[in-house]
Symmetry: C2
């Protein structure tokens, strides 16, 4: 490793102090234009590069922010990240992405790693609402490291969040199915310890209620966001004495599984059964039988998350105010649920 040039090297060369060099490089107004120019010139001549670590150690700021998501290989999360990047890069921040793969253990590990790396903030979508070991979060809050939740949040004092109105999403999806003439609508739900899934479920229920359709507990099944899960749970639904004529899935992946299973059973979509998913993953549009879904404007969500973070670090105020932004989801009706 060739010795890196430091401000001392360039100071020596110019017969001035390191302090002056530092000031010059930071464009301190007290330094004469002449010196500045000289410093800049020699610096680049010597291939000088600032050591961010030293700077960070001194200033206590690393200009790194951590983003924690369950996984990066879903269009939803990668789009949110893209949104975050677009807002943060221009401000000089760098983004460190971590995945939890829905494992609580990794979630905690990631937070700690990021803290160790002295990130200036953490933007995250929790995978596990239970995470009783609130210790980690309290730690964050105590250390005054800005924490912002997006999409999947947890209610913690002083912590802001940006989510979508999942209740509305569930409500719209279900209402749409009712408008298409469906009477027995099943719901592939998911871990309702997570607010997002609980709210989609509640929206579904409310839509039924508002349309005088009896709520049937047996039509609601917990299903993880996997194709295979969608298939299996749908198989069970189809075997019922009184099977559903529509399925509202809390995930596009399980919706896809549902569609596969329905087709295999010989039923037609949307004539016999309508299907609506959630998230508007790109494949829903690609499919020959395109899948209706709920768009969550992930890019927008990412941008807002980033701006909230920037606001927090900018504010001098000691008393942080908790903000909760809620985006409105949009139903995208496609072939899988359009009978007309």
């Amino acid at each position: 490793m060739t010795k890196k040039t430091t401000i001392y090297d360039i100071a020596k060369k110019l017969n001035i102090t390191a302090a002056t060099v530092s000031r010059a490089l930071n464009n301190n107004p007290k330094i004469s234009e002449k010196t500045k120019e000289l410093v800049f010139k020699t610096a680049s001549g010597m291939n000088y590069e600032q050591n961010k670590l030293a700077q960070a150690l001194k200033s206590g700021k690393s200009f790194n922010v951590g983003v924690i998501v369950p996984r990066i290989d879903s269009n939803f999360f990668s789009s949110v990240i893209r949104g975050i990047e677009e807002e943060l890069y221009p401000e000089g921040y760098h983004v460190i992405i971590c995945q939890t793969h829905d494992q609580q253990e990794l979630e905690i590990k990631n937070i700690n790693s990021l803290l160790n790396a002295q990130v200036d903030g953490i933007l995250m979508s929790i995978s596990n609402a239970k995470l009783e070991k609130n210790a980690v979060f309290n730690n964050l809050v105590k250390k005054n490291v800005p924490l912002i939740f997006f999409d999947r949040k947890k209610d913690i004092k002083n912590v802001s969040s940006i989510t979508i109105d999942d209740f509305k999403g569930g409500y719209e999806a279900t209402s749409h199915l009712i408008q298409q003439g469906c009477k027995r609508i099943a719901h592939l739900s998911n871990n309702r310890n997570l607010e997002i899934f609980k709210n989609r479920y509640l929206g579904y229920k409310q839509a039924l209620l508002d349309n005088n359709i009896p709520f049937d507990e047996s039509l609601v099944v917990e299903t993880f966001s996997k194709v295979i899960e969608g298939r299996e749970k749908t198989r069970l639904l189809l075997q019922m004495d009184n099977p559903p004529d529509a399925i509202f899935s809390s995930s596009d992946f399980s919706a896809l599984g549902a569609i596969e299973e329905i087709k295999e059973s010989g039923l037609r979509i949307p004539e016999d059964i309508c299907v609506v998913g959630f998230s508007n993953e790109p494949f829903t549009k690609f499919m020959e039988l395109s899948i209706s879904s709920i768009d969550q404007s992930p890019m927008e969500m990412g941008k807002i998350t980033a701006r909230m973070f920037l606001d927090e670090v900018a504010s001098e105020v000691k008393v942080k105010l908790e903000k909760h932004v809620v985006l409105t989801p949009t139903l995208i009706a496609r072939k899988s649920s359009l009978k007309i």
Copy 2:
């Protein structure tokens, strides 16, 4: 920001030196068990947490490695990353993911950001082979920061790489189509400045040659890895006087576009036209008309990349030896190309 406790604080409390505390925390064998225990206890009692920045500044190691990919929202790259993480986490490293979105400018920016963040190495898949401004890479090599290319490489002295045998991939895909009885095989190629695409193309060509099928330049079209691109280029192919009876696409996304277009034109798959993609993205399996593709074992690739990096940092040897691992791809034949 509540003042963080440092080793000095705990040293003072115990009436010993910071050095001793440091040694105790690092499990230095020269420290008595008693002191160690005492230190550990008070440390956790005081909520002490190591400042990685200081440590990094001192040791010159940050235990962060940067991973640069064109994008994270393709299963291929996210799987490679997963593989990298699985090998690196146990070794105490942390992974910083950056996306270039195929923009050369971002590519350079990312490298510089990572260098500034003092990463211990960079693992990357280049987006743009031209990147004439070799300066950045030379910089890396000069600074002796381990650099390893995966999937998309560039030939640079002293830089190792791990790729798949794209020639073989192209060859197998094409041979398979020939075996299915196809005689006029088109190829949706891509920017052949990138080795991967050049090699897939060359493999395709060789397979034709070996089977006495005339190579027809007009059947090869440059197509970016997008669904829409696949559609458009396929439309042109179908309009030819002598249209193809098979398409080998260098990307699953353009293969999907090709399939959509073919169906729309009223032709049947695989009866009239067979299609094979590349990468084995999950959706190829999901489709009702599942798409044949070439699997690149991305997880494996990630793991090997990580291990190469670990080897490099472990080796004391000054003279780095360039290693080039080449994985063998596997053809996965599905409905889109199985006539039987």
